[in-house]
């Protein structure tokens, strides 16, 4: 008869019997693989992060120069422009760091922290767009109807998502490694990093001050980039022959 009360302490006596010291024999496939083992370069997270920063920042700076600065930049509050830029940059910094650098002594990424950072950044950035936009006389604004918002959405959406996924995809291609655990969180964080940078470019470029546009279209570039790169990571970081 099972004595439930007995389970309150140590359950180790209930474990299936597996000898402590028995080394299970290696299978033939594993033996073959090990017989031809070749040296590989181990991952260096900080170097990878440096390469990512060295590539993504100039690319997005180039895009910003190419598309130009918003026409109402001299009129809107510098404090507002700066504060929102700091939020985008913080999201970029946190997402890129977590995507590349695991906790000390660990191999797998800090998935929980990544999910939290991406969720907080998305909610914060969309909320700032919805509730803390500012407008100047040269800003573009329009009645907040669904059709108006959608009519002004395509250019910012396409630019934001394209520029957002580019750094993440480059980083995944540069990695070219099989990552058996934590692929999704790596992709999510790198996509969020790229989306944050492209959102910052949109923030400095787009003079539309309509809150649904700023919140959902600009903020949405972060979310869509994160989801797209997370999907791509399942392909680019999957198992390959070695």
């Amino acid at each position: 008869m099972t004595e439930v009360g007995d389970m309150d302490g140590d359950m180790t006596q209930l474990a299936p019997e597996v000898p402590e010291q028995a080394v299970p024999p290696m299978g033939a496939a594993l033996r073959d693989a090990i017989a031809n083992v070749k040296p590989v370069k181990m991952r260096r997270p900080l170097r990878d992060l440096g390469v990512f920063l060295a590539l993504s920042i100039p690319i997005l700076a180039g895009v910003a120069v190419l598309i130009g600065i918003r026409r109402d930049i001299s009129e809107v509050s510098p404090l507002w422009v700066g504060s929102v830029a700091v939020i985008w940059l913080s999201s970029f910094a946190a997402s890129s760091y977590l995507g590349f650098v695991p906790a000390k002594g660990h191999v797998r990424p800090r998935s929980q922290n990544i999910y939290q950072v991406v969720a907080i950044a998305s909610v914060l950035i969309i909320s700032v767009g919805l509730f803390a936009t500012t407008s100047a006389t040269t800003s573009i604004t329009y009645p907040a109807t669904f059709s108006n918002v959608m009519a002004h959405a395509p250019s910012c959406s396409i630019m934001g998502v394209t520029a957002g996924i580019l750094p993440g995809l480059i980083a995944l291609v540069l990695m070219r490694r099989y990552v058996p655990v934590g692929r999704l969180s790596i992709g999510l964080s790198l996509g969020a990093a790229g989306g944050s940078l492209s959102g910052l470019v949109l923030h400095l470029h787009c003079p539309i001050s309509e809150r649904f546009h700023v919140g959902f279209i600009h903020g949405g570039s972060l979310v869509l980039s994160a989801l797209f790169v997370a999907g791509a990571s399942q392909v680019l970081l999957r198992e390959r022959d070695s």
Binding site: M1, E17, A22, P39, R44
Partner: protein, 186 residues
């Protein structure tokens, strides 16, 4: 121990097959015990162990010098276990042959341990059966913290979750286990 394993992993990444043998000898028994407790079958656990080490071999370039390889390997084993559970669940749905008697999908619970029950303990058998009925995340939490005797921090590292979440999973798993066993008793 951890430093030794890190050194072995480093030598292995540098192409030393002997280092892999030593790494395997040091880690495989622990990982096998973990897998047996997760899936309830020694033979399946041995297969999953081989698959997991093949993944470690293929993913060795994603290892970071100086990192502890064992929590990483535990996570790979757990992922391999979950993949196998999903595969068997899918094949159970698809493979509905009229003439062929349905096989119990041992790894995803319920009847898993019938073929390899230890003979002498009804209590052990009931507990293990109840363990197999838990959702994988709760089963992992109970196995790591109650059967493997790992601390909440170690278990959380392996599961890739926070200590708080691991405590909740272990508590819920433990409560579900008690409920199942109480139901069986009455």
């Amino acid at each position: 121990m951890s430093a030794d394993l890190s050194q072995l992993m480093k030598r292995y990444c540098e192409g030393d097959p002997q280092a892999f043998e030593e790494l395997y000898a040091a880690c495989a028994p622990k990982l096998l015990r973990y897998l047996v407790r997760l899936c309830g079958e020694v033979s399946t656990a041995e297969d999953l162990l081989q698959l997991s080490f093949l993944k470690v071999h293929k993913a060795r370039s994603s290892y970071i010098e100086g990192a502890k390889p064992l929590p990483w390997m535990y996570t790979i084993c757990h992922r391999t276990f979950l993949d196998e559970v999903r595969k068997r669940k899918r094949s159970k749905v698809v493979d509905v042959g009229g003439d062929v008697p349905e096989q119990s999908a041992a790894i995803d619970g319920r009847l898993a341990i019938e073929t390899e029950k230890p003979e002498n303990s009804e209590r052990l058998n009931r507990t293990l059966e109840a363990l197999q009925s838990l959702p994988p995340s709760q089963r992992q939490a109970v196995v790591l913290t109650k059967l493997d005797g790992k601390s909440m921090r170690e278990a959380a590292d392996i599961a890739g979750t926070s200590i708080g979440a691991m405590k909740v999973r272990a508590h819920r798993g433990y409560a579900a286990l008690r409920k199942t066993l109480e139901g069986a008793k009455s």
